[in-house]
């Protein structure tokens, strides 16, 4: 062997650095380092983060071949791996439910797995093997398109902080008990759920993301929530079911989240909040709420407008407001109840901190215009209002003329009118 005049630059770095470098590499390249030199022969085998995708096998047109290669690659990598595995991620559309995956999960459950992310092909839903529920050290669990059925003996993931279920089929009550049996849960994402009735009880929850059809959601005891983002779809059935229900959705959903900092609602969320008994003056002040985003607000529905007003008037530290309209222009044009904007109740409300307002999909119907006027009149530090119309309107000019007339509490307020 010839002595190299330059010393080896990298091999003698501390193992922690070598592992860090190997972890940044795609796993196939990390495994490849085993032929570099004797010092590198087994360096990769102790990395604690294993991230697999279809790049682990060279792609070709034969799906079965790719699948076979992927399975072999992963099985062998796991066999050769030494020590704990903290993260296992498998995202590929080439793999579907198969015995190998069940075995990998069993294997991982014995390796103190902390983070597990599984996203498999779409055609067949993957049934999660019950051994998953033995992964006691799980901190983060992210599952896509699968079926989850906690066994009766399941006592909860005591360390779990982040749970994301995308298109995961779980029975309503099982979802509820899964959530409440993770005492440390901080982040919860549920998407594409189907007519779910959900009572969220998670004392440490800070981040909540929901998307899908929900029959009923109640945030019961999650007082630490900081961020809520909801995209809610609604069928006629659900709507009727809700109308008949008792109680007030607004209070059920937002009645117990005093620390909320950011609220985002899409599609029917505002409508959802507007359903139920009028809460009257809500007892809660959202002192920390700084950003409110409500999309597809129907300004012709006074109940939705009330939801909007109730929210912003109870958020003294609001900084940024983003609203999009979805008004049925014809119905909204003949607005009644315009008097209430002059009403005592809201007239002396001041938005001390509001700086940015962004309105999109605006069609210039009376309640929209009144709302903009209300904001301009009562926001002394406002810096920018941007207004984007939903379509080319003949009334655009008259809308502009009207806008120009509005009094502005803030001398610095700039109105940006965005043409469609």
């Amino acid at each position: 062997m010839v002595d190299s005049p330059c010393p080896d630059l990298i091999s003698d770095l501390p193992q922690i650095i070598i592992e860090s470098i190997l972890t940044w590499l795609p796993i196939r390249e990390a495994v490849r380092t085993s032929v570099l030199s004797s010092k590198w022969r087994y360096r990769w085998t102790t990395i604690t983060h294993l991230v697999f995708d279809e790049k682990c096998a060279t792609l070709c047109n034969d799906r079965a071949l790719v699948e076979d290669k992927l399975i072999k690659f992963i099985t062998r990598a796991l066999l050769l791996h030494e020590g704990p595995i903290h993260k296992f991620q498998l995202c590929t559309s080439y793999l579907e439910s198969c015995a190998d995956i069940d075995q990998w999960i069993l294997f991982l459950s014995r390796k103190d797995i902390k983070e597990l992310i599984l996203e498999l092909g779409e055609s067949e839903w993957f049934r999660i093997p019950s051994c998953l529920f033995n992964c006691k050290k799980l901190i983060r669990l992210e599952l896509f398109r699968c079926e989850l059925d906690p066994p009766p003996t399941f006592k909860g993931f005591l360390c779990l902080k982040s749970l994301s279920l995308y298109q995961v089929f779980v029975a309503s009550d099982a979802t509820e008990s899964l959530i409440s049996s993770c005492p440390l849960l901080e982040s919860l994402s549920l998407s594409y759920s189907d007519s779910l009735t959900l009572n969220i009880r998670a004392p440490n929850l800070k981040y909540l993301f929901l998307e899908g059809e929900f029959k009923d959601i109640c945030i019961e005891s999650s007082p630490l929530l900081i961020t809520i983002s909801v995209a809610m779809y609604m069928t006629e059935d659900i709507f009727e079911h809700m109308e008949q229900g008792s109680g007030c959705n607004f209070n059920k959903f937002l009645g117990g989240v005093p620390l909320l900092e950011k609220l985002t609602g899409r599609i029917y969320f505002t409508k959802y909040l507007s359903i139920g008994d009028d809460p009257g003056r809500i007892p809660l002040t959202y002192c920390h709420l700084k950003i409110i985003e409500l999309y597809q607000v129907s300004f012709e529905d006074m109940k939705e407008v009330f939801v909007l007003l109730r929210l912003i008037t109870n958020s003294p530290n609001l900084k940024e407001l983003r609203i999009s309209g979805s008004s049925n222009a014809l119905a909204a044009r003949e607005a009644t109840d315009l008097d209430f904007w002059e009403n005592e109740c809201y007239s002396h409300c001041v938005f001390e901190r509001l700086k940015v307002v962004k309105m999109t999909e605006i069609s210039g119907v009376p309640h929209e215009m009144e709302f903009i006027k209300f904001l301009l009149e009562n926001s002394p530090v406002l810096e920018m209002v941007s207004i984007a119309c939903s379509f080319v309107m003949e009334e655009r000019l008259s809308m502009l003329v009207e806008l120009v007339r509005f009094r502005r509490a803030s001398p610095r307020a700039e109105i940006v009118f965005i043409q469609p």
Binding site: M1, I16, I17, W24, V35, S38, T46
Partner: protein, 374 residues
């Protein structure tokens, strides 16, 4: 002394300074808020009350030399300022890591010893980017890694996972080469046992298969055992024994990961006449010898060996008709030269076995491991 120190500090009373000493003995004064960005220094100041004067300078780890320290302080000086946007930080980082690989390695090491995790992440990510997409040869060159794996280790047979006849043939070729290597090694062993090149790596593999835990520990432990066994082998005067076979299996596993997926792909698109011919050959051959696992029967019977040789030559001749000239040369070289001794021929064998690059000429094709990753 402390008065002198005070005098030095006085003009800059607005900011507090601390003293740092690098391993070469030089001491320097640094803004405290900047230095505190390193958890190791922060710990020294808060927990041990160090750094307040020249006499109590914080002595930094060996790995932090003055030039690395000034780099690291630049990094800290930028990042400790609150209110910078992510974009600003990112573009600073990007420029910051523009340096030669040697310095980058040193910086990673120095940052690690100061427990400066964000910088360790940044630099190790940059190193990963250097490695990514390179051939093992290129990587070795960049980092000055010794090419100390034996040819045998690099030539471990490909797993015939897809039942591709060409891979079987490839394995057969490997088998021959491995056998020859082994024979030569034996010869060498008789001369000087210490010079065995692959001693350690076989140990590696053994410990690996036996479930040895950890590289360093696992390797050292069984070493003596192996030595003993080797001596026994010599007494028995047996040729390649069964005990060598198991390490090979283990390494097959390992290498399959790097090889299998890629090599059989490489071969995949070339399914023309050659493949058909090979197929025919294969059928006559495979029932007798099982090469499925790439395991080589070292006590191959002479008649069969001759047959392999014939076939390999045959195969080579046929392929020569449409392979590039250079490859023909290499191949014929391999066919002719039956090495007696010496390391020089090893290399040639390696190049002879650059199979995928023969089938599909790739730009880099001199060393055996290109088979793995070409």
């Amino acid at each position: 002394m402390s008065e002198v120190d005070m005098a030095v500090i006085k003009p800059e009373m607005m900011k507090s300074y601390i003293w740092l000493q690098t391993a070469d003995g030089s001491i320097q004064q640094v803004e405290q808020e900047v230095a505190m960005f390193c958890p190791m220094i922060c710990h020294e100041i808060i927990q041990k009350g160090m750094g307040s004067s020249k006499n109590y300078a914080i002595s930094l780890p060996q790995r932090v030399n003055p030039s690395m320290l000034s780099l690291i302080l630049d990094y800290c000086r930028f990042h400790q300022v609150p209110g910078r946007s992510n974009k600003e930080r990112k573009s600073f980082d990007e420029k910051f890591i523009r340096m030669d690989t040697k310095r980058l390695c040193e910086l990673t090491s120095a940052a690690d010893s100061l427990q400066l995790k964000p910088l360790v992440d940044l630099t190790s990510r940059a190193l990963a980017r250097i490695i990514e997409g390179k051939t093992p040869e290129e990587i070795r060159e960049i980092f000055h890694l010794p090419d100390d794996l034996t040819e045998e280790e690099k030539l471990e047979p490909l797993k015939n996972s897809t039942d591709d006849p060409r891979i079987r043939l490839l394995n057969r070729l490997y088998a021959r080469k491995r056998k020859e290597l082994k024979e030569r090694e034996k010869l060498k062993n008789v001369e000087t046992e210490e010079e065995r090149v692959d001693d350690r790596s076989v140990e590696d593999l053994l410990s690996f298969i036996n479930g040895g835990n950890g590289d360093a520990k696992g390797i050292k432990a069984p070493k003596s055992k192996k030595k003993n066994r080797r001596r026994k082998d010599h007494q028995k005067n047996a040729s390649a024994d069964e005990s060598i076979e198991s390490p090979e299996k283990g390494s097959n596993d390992l290498d399959f990961l790097c090889l299998g997926a890629e090599v059989d792909d490489k071969l995949q698109p070339h399914s023309g006449e050659t493949s058909k011919l090979l197929n025919m050959e294969d059928e006559t051959f495979s029932p007798k010898v099982e090469f499925e696992d790439g395991d080589i029967d070292d006590e191959i019977d002479p008649a069969l060996k001759e047959k392999i040789d014939r076939e390999v030559e045959d195969f080579a001749r046929r392929l020569n008709s449409d392979w590039p000239e250079r490859m023909q040369e290499i191949l014929s070289l391999g066919q002719e030269s039956r090495p007696v001794n010496g390391n020089g021929s090893l290399r040639r064998y390696a190049s002879m076995l650059t199979f995928p690059s023969l089938l599909k000429v790739s730009p880099c094709s001199s060393a055996a491991e290109d088979v793995l990753f070409a």
